[in-house]
């Protein structure tokens, strides 16, 4: 009798220990270790509307971009609100081998502008941990092959020295993907012109820019960007660049359609020399298409 009792007690205890744990076997070996991941797709592309985003093409990725801006809405019925003329286009290639350092070249139709740029992802926002922000550095160089239209009238060529054709843009882009929907970036920008338009103009222009997106479905997001020119650098009437847009993602490429007051597509054009304003309909329809290739 005694034996039976002891035996059943032991038997009960042994099963009591062994059984409950079986309900969740996975907890016995612990959570699968999370790989070190970064916040992905803070923005859908390397550009939002005109502004560069903090994104750099992925590893061994070539990003071919076509950007097009129509003429302004206030050109009226005769020019069919910008469809007929005054458009600008930009083709560019951006490549990154390691997903951090990217180099790019581009050609913008306005001012017959060639450009080359380097972009470096200095800091990547962690998925759930630090760092809280991503930081990307950008430096671009711009070269116009425009002929001086007033050469004969003035008696001199303002592009006599090739260096006069060059301008630069540098920016530090700091941004954060707050959640699945909302991302924001702030970027101090400096643009330097080797040759200015007026004697009293400054060669250097400083701006503070902001760009944001709100993703409302898996494949659609609304975007906005604004460049605040707090610097007094010219007597010519220019305006802050402002654009709103829609990002549409379709499998292999991203299609961005937007409305902006900037015609130029290079940094030395839209940041400091946007000469249309929203108030009088100086805005235009534009789109960017990005197609990526893995090389």
């Amino acid at each position: 009798m005694k034996f039976n009792r002891i035996f059943s007690l032991f038997a009960f205890l042994s099963f009591a220990v062994a059984l409950p744990a079986q309900d969740d076997l996975l907890s016995l070996v612990g959570e699968p270790e999370a790989p070190e991941t970064h916040a992905i797709a803070t923005f859908k592309g390397t550009r939002l509307i005109n502004f560069h985003t903090l994104e750099v093409p992925g590893k061994r990725t070539l990003d071919f971009r076509i950007a097009h801006r129509f003429g302004s809405f206030n050109s009226g019925w005769y020019d069919f609100y910008g469809l007929d003329g005054g458009a600008s286009i930009r083709l560019s290639f951006e490549y990154s081998y390691d997903g951090r350092l990217a180099v790019g070249i581009g050609r913008t139709s306005l001012d017959k502008m060639f450009d080359g740029f380097v972009k470096y992802r200095l800091l990547r926002q962690g998925d759930k941990s630090k760092p809280w922000v991503s930081v990307t550095l950008f430096s671009g160089m711009y070269y116009t092959i425009l002929k001086d239209p007033n050469k004969d009238a003035n008696g001199y060529d303002k592009y006599e020295h090739a260096s006069s054709r060059i301008s630069y843009c540098h920016q530090v882009i700091v941004g954060r993907k707050f959640n699945e929907h909302f991302s924001l970036q702030i970027a101090p920008v400096m643009v330097h012109y080797n040759q200015v338009q007026d004697f009293s103009d400054n060669n250097d222009v400083y701006l503070l820019t902001a760009a944001a997106r709100y993703k409302f479905t898996k494949r659609l997001a609304v975007t906005a960007e604004y460049g605040w020119r707090f610097w007094d650098y010219t007597r010519t009437k220019y305006y802050d660049s402002f654009g709103i847009g829609l990002d549409v993602e379709t499998g292999g490429h991203v299609f961005q359609v937007h409305i902006t007051n900037s015609l130029g597509l290079a940094e030395n054009q839209f940041y400091a020399r946007t000469n249309n304003k929203w108030a009088n309909g100086g805005i235009r329809l534009g789109f960017n298409i990005s197609r990526v290739f893995t090389l």
Binding site: F7, V29, R219
Partner: protein, 189 residues
């Protein structure tokens, strides 16, 4: 005296039982997992891999549990990986894929004897927030006390609320082939 002997015997039996139970859990935290949604017609390979899958088997009951972190699955193409996480599997909302099931014929597999054993596992697969019953053949290979497990099965992505837009329907298959396998170790607690 006789009673003492019986107590000793049952204590010994108890040790044997608990020892048996504890030794009979097999696990790995480095299972090779692949998720392949390549279509026959496309040149583009849609294939993600990881070697950080988790698998635990409770031998006496035949219970099987496995898990994969979606973000650990790596694609060759950066954009493909971004799309997989952002648009298809939505890994920040549904970070894990989990299988909880049972070996249908656990007794057929002798984990102590060398050989190759085929068994069937069935249970619940949770992916993208949806739980579905799945069933798959598993091959256990026992060699020199080491156990390896491998399984291949396919899931219809639509069943898991993962929709493939028509523009990429020729590039992303409707069915994903999932393979899961690894060398198991004894779980000591």
């Amino acid at each position: 005296m006789k009673n003492h002997f019986k107590v000793f015997l049952s204590a010994l039996l108890l040790i044997c039982i608990t020892d048996l139970v504890q030794a009979q859990r097999l696990f790995t935290r480095s299972a090779n997992v692949s998720f392949d949604a390549t279509t026959n017609s496309s040149l583009e390979v849609v294939d993600a891999k990881t070697n950080t899958g988790t698998l635990v088997i409770d031998v006496p009951t035949g219970q099987v549990e496995a898990a994969v972190l979606m973000k650990s699955l790596l694609f060759e193409k950066a954009l493909m990986q971004e799309h997989f996480n952002e648009n298809y599997i939505e890994s920040s909302k549904y970070p894990k894929g989990v299988f909880k099931g049972k070996l249908d014929d656990a007794t057929k597999v002798d984990f102590t004897k060398d050989g190759s054993y085929k068994a069937n596992v069935s249970g619940d697969l949770t992916m993208h927030g949806v739980t579905k019953k799945v069933s798959a053949p598993v091959t256990f290979t026992v060699k020199g006390g080491k156990v390896a497990a491998h399984t291949d099965f396919a899931v219809v992505l639509k069943d898991f609320n993962i929709d493939i837009p028509s523009v990429v329907s020729d590039k992303v298959a409707k069915e994903a082939k999932i393979s899961f396998g690894g060398d198991l170790e004894e779980l000591k607690k």
